[in-house]
Amino acid sequence: MDYEYDMDAPQELTRAEVQKRRFEKKRRNLNEKLSGLSVLVFALAFAVIIFFLLFFPRPTETKLENRKLAEWPKFSLKALFTGKYTGGIKEHYNDTAPYRDDLKGVGDEIRARFGFTSKHTVKFSNGVRKVTEYQEESRTPKATSMPGAAGRRMTEATERGEEANQKDFRGIDADGAWNNGQLTVYQDGHYRCMELFGGGVGSSYAEALNYLHGVLGNTVTIYSMPCPLACEFYLPKNYADCAANQSDCFDKTAEKLDDGIVSINVCPVLAKHTEENIYSRTDHHWQSLGAYYACRTFAETAGVPFADLSKYEKGSWSGYVGTMYAFSRDANLKNDPEEFVYYKPTCDYESYYYDQQFNYSYNDDLFWDNIEDSSSYYLTYIHGDSNVVKTVTNVRNGRRLLVVKDSYGNAQIPFYSSSFEQIIVVDMRYFERNLITLIETMDITDVLFTCSSFSVVGGNADNLMNLMTQDAYSDLVDNAPTASSTND
């Protein structure tokens, strides 16, 4: 019997092939079900995030980064066709995410727990790289001259100079870690984060002070008191090559000053108090106590009275985590807050606040008490940097002080309330009138330049000459309610 092979007849599948096809069909169905479920879950997740980003309130500024957030852009046809308008919308949306600062904190915690360095890089004008070049040192500070009764004041400073230095943290190794160019070290059971001084000599700074001295001659005494950063005292031995010596910088800068300018180096003074709360651990500023010791040194040099610390009303706020957390984003700082300690004068005074054009704004205390954001406690001193401040005291010695400062000067001002009849404070970065006109109009007798090391050697110092030359031909009028610029 012959059989014909029919190509169209269904081929019989083997048992294995049948099972395989059944398995594949079953797996396909399972895949589709799971895929459908996955899509639903992802869609829900996206919907929740979209809802959160769209409908929750959007912040307008960030306290953590201390800046205003991107605003909705202004519309114009030009902006639309150049892409600026649409780019601005995107920037606004991205920059103003709801609960931005809180979520950044969560991000920091995640990074800290799972071993990620924070991604932010904050640049400073003097850099934070290892110091590879070192300015020529001046081991012998230039002798400073001062008018008036020099002998007794210098003697008192010398006697106090015989106090022993407290702990030299620079001679001890410590654990540390880098975050965004900031160094956090672990000392005496706490974390301290520091900006690192890269070195330099204040040539622009000296040039401006010399210019002022040249204009004013001996009618006014000019003082230079740069303020060291914390790293001068707390940089561990094993990181010694990561920052330059600030005391040497100050001495080198002093060498560039004219003979009539009084230069004060407070580094040796502060070195005697390192175990006290003189510098914030979580902020780039010093604490009130550090400013006190500096101010005392200045007062002794200037030959003015100075109230002992016991005469001040001490106050403190807990839970202080300052700017170094924002700079470094090191969660260790956030989890190791400190006390913000301040000293309020008990003597009588009146403070007047002006804008940078020296237009009177309001009258208030030297201290701003209602600061909600704990990272901004330093603003308590003279309400921050945005005002020109005049303080009239009940001192009667004919001495009027003008302080030209950066934010390091703010903490000093309350301590001069027992030393001068009037203290006028201008910020070296923001003042918009002529400094010489101000000095002459307000009958200033003493001008103190006091700012951080960064400002001495960096861009802020470049603005000092502008202060001497800008707006030179306008009269300056003090329109505060006291009306008169003399004390009655």
Partner: protein, 475 residues
């Protein structure tokens, strides 16, 4: 617009997907994609009109080729197309480079015009070139409808940072494609993985690299011997994660629209030869130069060495208008030539360890050349990694900062290295091929949960970041 961006992820993309899935016909879907793609390109870009103009130009050249293919007019059409596309690239990307070198060579002071570089120009121009040549070689049918060609060139998932998609890959899918739940699920997961690679890994690696070496390598002089090696290894990982992240997101998004782009990265660090590295790294670029430049006859003949030189010169130059990129390309060209001369069979006999040491050394040093645009810094880099700086007393063997970065980021580094190996794909394959429904289901659920965690963490990290464009954005 970039992908690792809150606005793109939670405004633009959802809107686009919503409109796309609501459309019924393929024609409507294509129109929606074209509109969103042009909007994507125009968003924040002032020279947005270049893309549609380039599309019109190349589409017209394609039509011209279609009519004159086997004649000298066809050759002319190709020449016009290539001159137009390459010319566009030269003008916008290399003008400053040429003028700068001219000034340096002849002592002139011609001012640099600082021409604005339109985003993605290197990518869509190469796509256009591939289309023109494919039309001439009849690899693809000439696209007679401009909107379809515009869709190909402007499709936003692959528009500004690749992969360089050939027309042949999407030719059929332009007219006919479908999207299943599986496609969407896979696509979303791929997008999330890409996002996590960028927002979590690449950005974190970049933070360390910039701290150690500087944004442009300006801190290299202060790095120790080990610190330099460590920094460059991290930089290599960063470039891989940054670029492959974008490709992942592009492929994932393409999948969600029904397009199936080819893979662009295939775990390049497991390579055992440099040739294999380039078969796994930026695959679409490597294959572009292989297919369109390597075997082109030069002055009527196949000239192997000249072709190799051209390919690697162009590869380097494509990456950036600076000499270090050209040097980088030629560096790899030398090793490709070496391996060609050595022969595949002979190289296979090398011990595996030696092959890995050889390839990793070449790759790491290559990334050093890639990073340092300044020749001075590049010289210091070579001095550091070779130990000469140490011998001269300019730097030490190790430094505290480098050690601190290593210790504080050990989990990130281990995870980055582990995830650059094909471990997770192997695990995925094992799960997907498992005959046990329980294992399969648990594996799928774990993948979804893992992706959700990655999504949330990525969003938190993105909020921490206002603007951090992908590395290959500048190309």
């Amino acid at each position: 617009m970039v992908f690792a961006d809150l606005f793109f992820l939670f405004v633009f993309l959802p809107l686009c997907l919503l409109c796309y899935y609501m459309a019924k016909s393929i024609r409507t879907k294509n129109i929606i994609l074209i509109l969103f793609s042009l909007l994507f390109y125009a968003w924040g870009e002032k020279l947005w009109f270049l893309l549609p103009l380039s599309a019109l130009f190349n589409w017209a050249v394609g039509l011209w080729i279609g009519k004159t293919r086997h004649t000298s007019a066809g050759k002319l059409a190709v020449a016009v197309g290539l001159i137009g596309d390459i010319g566009l690239l030269l003008v916008f990307k290399y003008t400053d480079f040429f003028i700068g070198n001219f000034n340096g060579l002849f002592g002139t002071h011609v001012p640099l015009p600082h021409v604005h570089l339109p985003i993605g120009i290197s990518f869509f121009t190469f796509q256009a070139i591939s289309y023109v040549l494919d039309c001439y070689w009849e690899t693809v049918e000439v696209q007679k409808k401009f909107p379809k060609f515009l869709l190909y060139l402007s499709l936003f998932p692959q528009l500004i940072a690749g992969p360089i998609v050939r027309y042949s890959v999407v030719e059929k899918e332009i007219d006919k494609r479908s999207v299943s739940a599986s496609d969407i699920a896979e696509g979303i997961q791929r997008v999330i993985i890409g996002l996590a690679k960028k927002a979590i890994v690449a950005n974190s690696l970049y933070a360390i690299v910039t701290e150690m070496l500087g944004e442009k390598g300006e801190f290299i002089a202060s790095q120790s011997f080990l610190g330099t090696w460590f920094g460059i290894i991290l930089y290599a990982l960063y470039v891989y994660y940054d670029f492959s992240a974008y490709s992942d997101m592009a492929i994932g998004m393409g999948r969600m629209f029904g397009f199936h782009f080819n893979e662009n990265f295939d775990h390049p660090f497991v390579c055992t030869t440099i040739a294999e590295f380039w078969q796994r790294w930026h695959i679409s670029l490597g294959s572009f130069f292989r297919d369109y430049l390597l075997y082109v006859k030069i002055f009527g003949k196949n000239r192997i060495y000249l072709s190799l030189f051209l390919v690697w010169f162009c590869t380097g130059m494509w990456h950036g208008a600076a000499w270090n990129f050209i040097l980088w390309g030629l560096f790899y060209g030398c090793f490709m030539l070496f391996e060609q001369k050595m022969g595949r069979k002979r190289m296979k006999k090398w011990p595996t360890l030696i092959k890995h040491i050889y390839t990793k050394l070449v790759i790491i040093i290559g990334f050093g050349i890639f990073m340092f645009v300044s020749m001075k810094d590049l010289g210091i880099f070579f001095r550091n990694i070779s130990g000469v700086s140490m011998a001269l007393g300019k730097t030490g063997f190790a430094d505290r900062q480098g050690w601190s970065f290593f210790v504080r980021n050990i989990f990130l580094i281990v995870a980055a290295i582990a995830c650059s190996l094909p471990l997770l794909p192997k695990l995925k394959k094992t799960v997907l091929q498992s005959r046990s429904d329980a294992v399969y289901t648990v594996g799928r659920i774990a993948a979804v949960v893992g992706c959700l965690v990655l999504l949330v963490v990525s969003v938190i990290f993105l909020i921490d970041n206002t603007n951090n464009p992908f590395l290959y954005f500048r190309f």
